[in-house]
Amino acid sequence: DTAVSQTPKYLVTQMGNDKSIKCEQNLGHDTMYWYKQDSKKFLKIMFSYNNKELIINETVPNRFSPKSPDKAHLNLHINSLELGDSAVYFCASSQAGRVTYGYTFGSGTRLTVV
């Protein structure tokens, strides 16, 4: 049973295309996140949703749009992909409120823009 699952695992696409990454968690958590990990392994938060409501929106280009149809799902849509978007994108989830048990991460989606 995968707690946080992301699809696809790999995504290779051309510049200018639009793509989506899907994330689902079966842990009953209220909060979900998108993180971006660059080539130097630096992890940076992009978005956070709590029970379908956007609560964190870091300085991310408008081309990135998260969508949460319900509290178990958080998708990431990226328009007009650029070379610099190449990275590994991680979805994570946690209990709402103060973090006391840590985040549970998905296995990541490696996006390569060519």
Partner: protein, 112 residues
């Protein structure tokens, strides 16, 4: 913005030795967490230490926290080849900011 800074950036040891990784951070925290990332995989939560705690143990892991120095250390005792991974510290701030901020990580290699 980045909060934690791990030290060293890379560490190579022999199986059976202990591995110590350090993390420094800049602002007040609610808690500090350590994560492991195996190559090509997601992050796995290892241990969480609250700001009012000084030391915590979990199996072969020992974490210390010194809030006066804004630093933490992760000790892995009797290391195994399977411990080879990148280790990240992450801080959860005070003030209701609902986000975990990660450091750059320490790449640990345990040689058999």
């Amino acid at each position: 913005s980045q909060q934690g800074e791990e030290d060293p950036q890379a560490l190579s040891i022999q199986e059976g030795e202990n591995a110590t990784m350090n993390c420094s951070y800049k602002t007040s925290i609610n808690n500090l967490q350590w994560y492991r990332q195996n190559s090509g995989r997601g992050l796995v939560h290892l241990i969480l230490i609250r700001s009012n705690e000084r030391e915590k143990h979990s199996g072969r892991l020992r974490v210390t926290l010194d809030t006066s120095k804004k630093s933490s250390s992760l000790l892995i005792t009797a290391s195994r080849a399977a411990d080879t991974a990148s280790y990240f510290c992450a801080t959860y701030g005070e003030g209701g900011s609902e986000k975990l901020v990660f450091g750059k990580g320490t790449k640990l290699t345990v040689n058999p």
